[in-house]
Symmetry: C2
Subunit: 257 residues, 2 copies
Amino acid sequence: MNKERLIFVTNDDGYDSRGIRAAIEVARRFGRVIAVAPETPQSGMSQAITINNPLFLREISKEDGVELYSFSGTPVDCVKVAFDHLLRDRRVDLALSGINHGSNSAANILYSGTMGAAIECSFYGCPAIGLSLDDHSAGADFDAAAIYGARIVESVVAADPPLPLCLNVNIPKGRPEEIRGVRVCRQNKGYWREDFFRRHDPRGREYFWLTGAFVNSEPEATDTDEWALANGYVAVVPVQTDMTDYTRLESLRHIIG
Amino acid sequence: MNKERLIFVTNDDGYDSRGIRAAIEVARRFGRVIAVAPETPQSGMSQAITINNPLFLREISKEDGVELYSFSGTPVDCVKVAFDHLLRDRRVDLALSGINHGSNSAANILYSGTMGAAIECSFYGCPAIGLSLDDHSAGADFDAAAIYGARIVESVVAADPPLPLCLNVNIPKGRPEEIRGVRVCRQNKGYWREDFFRRHDPRGREYFWLTGAFVNSEPEATDTDEWALANGYVAVVPVQTDMTDYTRLESLRHIIG
C-alpha cells in the first residue's frame, strides 16, 4: 500500500465513537489519516452548518500516521475546517464518513449527518464514501462494515473514477460471512411518519421527543438500497446533489410565469 | 377566496422574524393559517432533525384565522410536530416556508433550513413552496417577495398539480417594479469555499467562525436559478429528493461488486 496517500475521516456520532475508530482503521490501510469529527453526537444533522456561533478545534491524538481532532460543530463544519483550514492546499486522496450506527438508506440520506459530511467532502475534489451499519445497538459488530468498507475503498482507489464521486454505502447487520455480496442500487422512495413521544418534564411542561417509522413507498422494488439491505447485501448508491426535478420544468412553465 | 383552505407556514429564521410575518400575510389571503416556526434562528440547519433532546411547543398567538406556535427544534422538527401532531389527520392545502432572509439558490438548497422544511412539507401530501429573498440585511424589503410569492401560490392553487410538489423560489432584491418576471429553471452547479474567520476568545482560546464565498461552476449558463436571480428574475426550481446519480449506476457496477 502507498503510505503517502492522505485519507480524511469524519462522522456524525462524534470523535470518540466506536464507528469512527473502525473507519480510521480502514483508512489507515490506505495511507496517512487526518480525522476531524464532532465534539458531541450529531446524528440527524443533515448537511447543517453553524453560522451563528464560533467553533473550537481540539487536537485529540497524533500518532503513527493518524491525527485525530474534534470540532465543536456539525459534521459539515468538521469537513469545512478540515479542507479549508487544516488541509488547505494539500491533496486529499479519499474521504470516509462513518462508520455510522444505523443505516442511511432511502430517505435517511436527507437527514443523515454522516451523508451530509460525505456529500460535503465530495465538493472538495476527492472521492467520498459514507459508511453506515444497519445496527443501532451500542454493541454493534463493525467487522462486516470494516471488511466491505475496505473492499469498496480498494475498488475506488484502483479504478480512480471521474470526480465528483460520492457513495452512500450501507452494510447489513450480521457477521461478515452472512453478507451475500454488494449491490449498486438506487435510493428507495419513502418517507418517515412520526409518533411524537409526549411526556411531562419535572416542572410539568409537556415535551415532545421525535420517534417514528419509515414508510417504504415501493416495497416491491428489488433495485433499491432498502431491498439490498433487507436481503443481506451491502447497498451502494452513487449520490449527486442536483435537486432539480427535470421532469417538471416544462409543465411548471405552463403553470407559473 | 376560499377561506376554508388550510395553509401551513414555517421558516428557519424563527417565529418572530419579519420574513415569517410576510409569509403569513401571503398565506392569509388563501385560507386559514397554522404556523409553527423555530423558537430560535435556525439558518443553515438543512434538513436536520432533533433526535437526542426533548422539544417544547409554545402557543404564541391565535387570532383572526392565524395560529402561531414556536417549537424549540429545527425547521424540520417544526414541520413534523405540525403535521404529525397539531394537524394530524387534517387536510393541509399548501405549505409555505420562509420568507428567508438571503437566497437559497444553487447549492444553498442543501444547507438551507428554509428548503429543508419545504422539502419535509412536500412529504406530507401538499404542495410546498420555499420562499427566499436575496437580501440578508435586517431592513430587507419583502414587498416583491410577498407579491411574487402570492402570484406563485395562486398559480399552484389554481393548477392543482400532481404531488409531490416542492418549489424553491428565490426573489431578487429590489422593489416589485424592478422584477423582470419569473423563470422556471434548474439548480445552478457550484459549491462554497470557506475562509474561516479566526480570532481568540476572552480566555485566549482560538475560535473559528464560518465565512466564505460561493463558487459558481457554470457562470455562463442562462437556464439556472443563479442566472435568473442575477438578472432580475424570480427563480423557480422544482425540487425532487432522489439523490441517486443514475448516470453512474452502470459504470459503478464494473468498479464495485
